[in-house]
């Protein structure tokens, strides 16, 4: 919306409506930010995991693989240099460790970028909502 509205010219019911609109926009943006943060945490954690466990010294070592979140089976680590990565829309790609590390860094950076883009917008909406509240109080 590119139009400027002078809040003081609005009546209380209109202000309430505007306030509610900002409320829901803020809620939506906040929850999106949380999802982004969650995704970033996951990418960082995958990267760390990768670097810690997929080393040549661990070649052949026995591991417990989760079949489900509560069922594990014993297995051996074969080929600590290759991993299979889900890149989206049901496509999986085989990468070596350094390529996989780059992949997670790429994803993590992208998500960070998105968060940085929306943070100021979220701030602005918070401030505006606060302004609306203040104007509403003068009209009570």
């Amino acid at each position: 919306q590119g139009q400027e509205i002078n809040l003081t010219t609005l009546q209380l019911p209109q202000l309430k409506m505007l306030h509610d609109q900002f409320d829901s926009e803020i809620e939506y943006l906040t929850s999106s930010m949380q999802s982004l943060k969650g995704a970033q945490t996951q990418f960082e954690s995958s990267k760390r995991c990768l670097l810690k466990s997929m080393t040549p010294e661990n070649e052949g070592k026995s591991v417990l693989v989760p079949l489900t979140s509560s069922l594990y089976v014993p297995a051996n680590l074969v080929d600590t240099n290759k991993v299979l990565i889900d890149i989206g829309t049901n496509y999986y790609v085989e990468k070596n460790i350094s390529e996989a590390e780059e992949f997670f860094k790429r994803k993590s950076d992208y998500v960070k970028q998105q968060m940085e883009k929306f943070q100021p917008i979220l701030q602005h909406k918070f401030k505006t909502r606060q302004l609306i509240v203040e104007v509403m109080q003068t009209k009570l």
């Binding site: 890149i87 989206g88 049901n90 496509y91 999986y92 790609v93």
Partner: protein, 130 residues
């Protein structure tokens, strides 16, 4: 939301019927617009995901192993083929999005037409009631 602004009791049954018809149409069109908006949201998300995959595929060396999960099976794909499939998906989704945008523009025109009809009928009825 449009509501009757005149004393309906004083109005002809015929007019009441016409107004009801227009209100029903308005509701119908609004539902269609809503449906399209939801569909567009889904399509946008799909477009995003597919674009991400396309970009990732570009990062790969030609001998890279690519797999597609179909049902429970990870089937090996040729890199070129995978790129082609994803590009086609992107084309298809983009076309669908455009189609929905055109549809909504059309529906909004219809909506305005019905709103105008309602105003006309109400104006006429008020004139008659006096």
């Amino acid at each position: 939301k449009l509501g009757p602004y005149i004393n309906m009791g004083a109005v002809d049954a015929q007019v009441r019927l016409e107004l009801q018809k227009e209100f029903d149409e308005i509701q119908k069109v609004q539902k269609e617009i809503q449906k399209s908006a939801e569909l567009q949201k889904k399509l946008d998300s799909q477009l995003n995901q597919n674009t991400v995959v396309k970009d990732e595929l570009e990062f790969l060396e030609p001998e890279s192993n690519v797999y597609k999960l179909t049902g429970p099976v990870l089937v090996k794909q040729d890199l070129g083929e995978a790129k082609g499939t994803v590009s086609k998906r992107i084309e298809y989704i983009s076309a669908e999005i455009k189609r929905q945008e055109t549809l909504v523009a059309d529906l909004e025109k219809q909506l305005n037409k019905h709103k105008e009809s309602v105003s006309k009928i109400q104006a006429k009825a008020t004139a008659v009631a006096h």
